[in-house]
């Protein structure tokens, strides 16, 4: 393969392959089709956090004109499954039914109505009479773990739950060395516990699906998903129909961030279509999205660090308790990632322990969310590192430098802790974290600003930093495949299962193929995520697409390249080995050339005809981490408690950036989402478990006025196992803001915040507490 210096298409910020249609508002999304003949489907949500359904009387609802079908537990399949769109067998418990005889959170599915109009469907929902037997609800981690707590999953036929009788979904416990002895041997020990809140992805397009039968009576699901192949498999399992009878098409998706790695609506729409023969349309309102889609797992995480006087870590312990809400989707794997994506960063500690449990509560259901547990883990880890640096009298930067993993090094955690099971051992082959830290510190003005506590009226400035890693896909589990076929004008069809949810993966995969084939990216016609047309791919999650799907594309392109050269060689009367593909031509040693169009025409029409095409797959043997150094300057209003992020610098090593503008865009979006998570976003609950702020007015995500001066710096490296030297970059950025802002607030005003979000109320409370004389606290 070409070395990075000679890349032509890779490394260029080419335009998005689907960009023109998007800026023109072309009909590209699920809802953008003629809906005049569909049945509108609406879901009845539970008013109770925990209750048994005694009886559902839908007779009045069925009489409403236009109502075509009413779905309840009485007339739908009862197969237990998980809604988590993960590889098979899923590491999440099979604890969900289409419609159950019990509801487990406010908003849980009770029934659904399909009607000729939205109004009729809504009227029917109001006419359904449900008799509930209310049960005591579990509304926090502590209540879930209390002796004699109500059992949320007492149904008996669920599988894969660690200990249902104690509301424990998952339990993870791994050891390296002897952590207790390690703390005894350490010169300095610090310990910190942090808590994170319920927060939502809030893609601007909510979950939406459109289903119909094609002319062969096969079920077609056009759906806004990150995991089309998992949707096909899980819908087949849930509805009890063959995979062969289902086609899943993912059009453009209006953002996912993890919440669409879930099968939330497709089973209902599919069932309506199968039962009625009619097309169905089901779209969550914004309020329903807040209540019944997915959230991030709230966690309480304790970190204990032991270090020697020289600032080298000797022992590290992390204990995480995760609230996985009413169902266990992603409960185990998010929990495991809280340790597996954080602890290897500090591989100098010879003794390490990770322990965690995920527990059920009667609250909305967390799932996959960009960062996937690492976000929750880095808050206490990087807070504790800041505290440790102070105890040691070391600059926080210097403490990190003495401890972070480097090229050629490994961590036993890689092998011990994986995706809900044992992991995969690996050695880091690319890491420019040292340079990330250096350029980031320079850009923020670390040396001048740290400890300076500059004041402007009530505003006090401070700077903080943090470092982190993530991964690139799930090693030895994720699989991606790609097919490339050639057309006689020298263009190519690139067919990938990979799922572009707005990330730009269609574009960067086209760039990788184009680089191998010596053509501009615009010569690739990309078709992605149609289970009838494209080869398999697990989908858009776990920072896998660039690294895993990218490698599959590179291999398929290399296969096609070989076929092109074999056809071109006799045309140019040269050996295959002497030919190159450049500028849409096969070029021989003396400069003789033949266009790719001529090559394909010969292969199609002239002699020894065959279709120039190749399919290739990739199952990665490792998951090379991208690395990130974050720096923030904040200003804290000591009178109101308001925190402003003035400047945020993120220097990231994601290997070769296939498309630098898009890699920056991934970072910028993740960081701003993370700033919202750090400062304002929080789902609030009533005393009965109802979401109190299910709107974008009451749940504040950042707008253009809330964004700081934000610098993303791509610090290049070359990952030898990646396609064109690339690693993935989709998730890592979201982990940075919480610890970085928390550490900057400490630098500014000396308070340690251990509960997100850092609202003015919480900051002011901490400030008041700090100002009191010690004895009064």
């Amino acid at each position: 393969m070409a070395e990075r210096e000679s890349f032509v298409v890779v490394g260029q910020s080419v335009r998005k392959v689907d960009g023109v249609g998007l800026v023109k508002g072309k009909p590209k999304f699920v809802a953008d089709v003629d809906l005049s003949d569909v049945l509108y489907v609406k879901i009845l949500g539970s008013p109770h956090a925990h209750a048994r359904i005694v009886r559902i009387d839908s007779s009045a609802a069925a009489q409403i004109p236009g109502v075509i079908a009413i779905l309840t537990y009485e007339n739908t399949p009862s197969t237990r499954h998980t809604t988590a769109g993960q590889g098979y067998p899923e590491p999440s418990p099979y604890d969900a039914r289409m419609f159950d005889t019990k509801v487990r959170f406010v908003g849980d599915r009770v029934a659904a109505v399909a009607a000729e109009t939205e109004e009729a469907a809504e009227e029917a929902l109001r006419a359904i009479r449900v008799t509930y037997e209310e049960l005591p609800a579990v509304l926090s981690i502590d209540e879930a773990r209390a002796e004699g707590a109500p059992v949320i999953h007492d149904e008996g036929d669920s599988t894969g739950i660690y200990e249902a009788a104690r509301n424990i979904v998952a339990d993870v416990d791994i050891d390296v060395g002897d952590v207790e002895r390690g703390f005894v041997e350490s010169d300095v020990v610090v310990e910190t516990t942090c808590e994170t809140q319920y927060a939502q992805h809030t893609p601007i397009e909510t979950h939406v699906v459109h289903s119909y039968l094609d002319s062969d009576d096969r079920l077609v699901l056009r759906t806004s998903t990150q995991v089309p192949f998992h949707v096909r498999r899980i819908v087949a399992q849930t509805l009890g129909i063959p995979i062969q009878r289902i086609r899943v098409i993912k059009p453009r998706v209006g953002g996912g961030f993890g919440t669409k790695q879930e099968v939330l609506l497709e089973d209902i729409a599919g069932w309506v279509t199968l039962r009625t023969g009619r097309a169905a349309f089901l779209s969550l309102s914004r309020a329903e999205e807040f209540v019944a889609a997915r959230t991030r797992h709230p966690m309480r995480v304790r970190v204990k660090l032991g270090a020697n006087k020289d600032g080298v870590l000797h022992a590290i312990e992390m204990e995480a308790t995760s609230n996985t809400g009413a169902y266990g989707a992603h409960g185990l794997t998010v929990l495991a990632n809280t340790g597996s994506k954080t602890l290897p960063l500090y591989n100098k500690a010879k003794n390490a322990h990770f322990y965690g449990q995920a527990v059920y509560t009667n609250l909305p259901v967390p799932g996959a969310y960009r960062g996937y547990g690492a976000t929750q883990g880095y808050f206490p880890l990087e807070t504790a590192m800041d505290e440790l640096s102070e105890r040691l009298g070391l600059d926080p930067i210097e403490l990190r430098r003495r401890n972070h993993i480097r090229v050629g090094e490994t961590s036993p955690i890689f092998e011990k802790l994986g995706e809900g099971r044992e992991g995969v051992s690996q050695t880091v082959k690319s890491c420019e974290l040292e340079r990330c830290i250096a350029v980031g510190a320079e850009r923020i003005g670390w040396r001048e600003k740290r400890g300076a506590r500059r004041r402007e009226g009530p505003w006090v400035h401070g700077v903080g930093m943090s470092i982190m890693m993530q991964g690139s896909g799930i090693p030895q589990i994720d699989m991606a495949a790609a097919t490339i076929k050639m057309n006689e004008d020298g263009s190519f069809n690139l067919l990938v299962g990979a799922t572009d949810i707005g990330t730009g993966s269609d574009t960067i995969l086209a760039q990788i193929a184009a680089e191998v084939l010596g053509v501009p990216a615009s010569r690739m016609i990309v078709t992605s995520s149609d289970t009838d047309l494209t080869p398999f791919d697990v989908g858009a999650y776990a920072s896998s697409t660039t690294y895993v799907s990218g490698m599959a594309v590179q291999r398929a392109a290399e296969g096609v390249r070989g076929q092109i050269l074999s056809v071109a060689a006799p045309m140019l009367k040269a050996s295959v080995e002497s030919l190159r593909l450049v500028g849409e031509h096969a070029v021989g040693p003396a400069g003789a050339r033949v266009s790719l169009a001529e090559v394909c025409r010969r292969a199609m029409y002239s002699s020894d005809q065959f279709q120039i095409a190749a399919t290739a797959s990739c199952v990665p043997s490792e998951s090379p981490p991208p690395f990130l150094a974050n720096f923030a300057e904040v200003a804290v209003d000591v009178e109101t408690g308001r925190v402003k992020v003035v400047h945020y610098v993120a220097a990231v090593d994601c290997g070769v950036a296939i498309n630098p503008l898009m890699a920056e865009g991934q970072m910028e979006g993740a960081i701003v989402n993370g700033i919202g998570y750090a400062l304002s976003e929080e789902m609030l609950f009533s005393s009965t478990g109802r979401v109190r702020n299910p709107s974008l007015f009451d749940y504040k995500i950042p707008g253009a006025l809330d964004v700081p001066n934000l610098d993303v710096i791509l610090v290049g490296s070359y990952e030898p196992t990646g396609p064109m030297g690339a690693k993935s970059v989709g998730e890592i950025g979201i982990n940075g803001p919480i610890p970085t802002i928390a550490n900057a607030i400490y630098d500014a005003v000396g308070i340690r915040l251990r509960r997100t979000p850092f609202t003015p109320e919480r900051v002011l409370e901490a400030l008041v507490c700090e100002r009191r004389p010690k004895g009064e606290r």
Binding site: V23, K24, G25, L696
Partner: protein, 158 residues
């Protein structure tokens, strides 16, 4: 149902509407699906259209109120194959990720630049502050509006 006569992107159209229908619902039913629904309550800006040249949330406007007024949707911005400079700039600057907020964001920028060809960064942020985007972090969208403003002043496009 009653009939409404709307002027959409310069063309007069008669559309069916219920008395309570919003402009968002009517426009989408009429095929202008570039007008997106994100919340239905005026919080996200995905349904932004121009009404007599000013950006409004179509989900907050009764369709009947739009009669006899000029409606511009994203579909009316490009001139055939020639994109508007704002659309070009959004592509060049990497300001489009999922693209769901893009039509509304572009139209808010169009409203701004039609009134203020030399906006400051703060004015740009203000103008698009009602358009929520979860993908981009706004950095490249703000830059795209700056680039579009420069190109429109100098008469270039791309």
């Amino acid at each position: 149902m009653t009939s409404l006569e709307l002027t959409i992107n310069g063309a007069r159209r008669v559309v069916d509407a219920n008395p309570g229908d919003t402009l968002l619902e009517v426009l989408r039913r009429a095929g202008h699906v570039g007008v997106k629904k994100g919340c239905g309550s005026g919080d996200c800006g995905a349904c932004t259209v121009l009404l007599d040249g000013r950006a409004v949330n179509a989900c907050l406007v009764l369709a009947a109120k739009a009669e006899k007024r000029a409606i511009l949707t994203i579909e009316g911005l490009a001139n055939g194959d020639a994109l508007h400079p704002i659309q070009e700039a959004f592509l060049d600057e990497g300001a489009v990720q999922c693209g769901y907020c893009t039509p509304g964001m572009v139209l808010s920028a169009y409203d701004l630049l039609s009134r203020n060809p030399t906006p400051s960064e703060g004015e740009i942020r203000e103008a698009i502050s009602g358009n929520l985007c979860r993908c981009t972090g706004y950095v490249k969208q703000i830059r795209a509006v700056q680039t579009a403003a420069e190109r429109m002043r100098s008469g270039r496009n791309g």
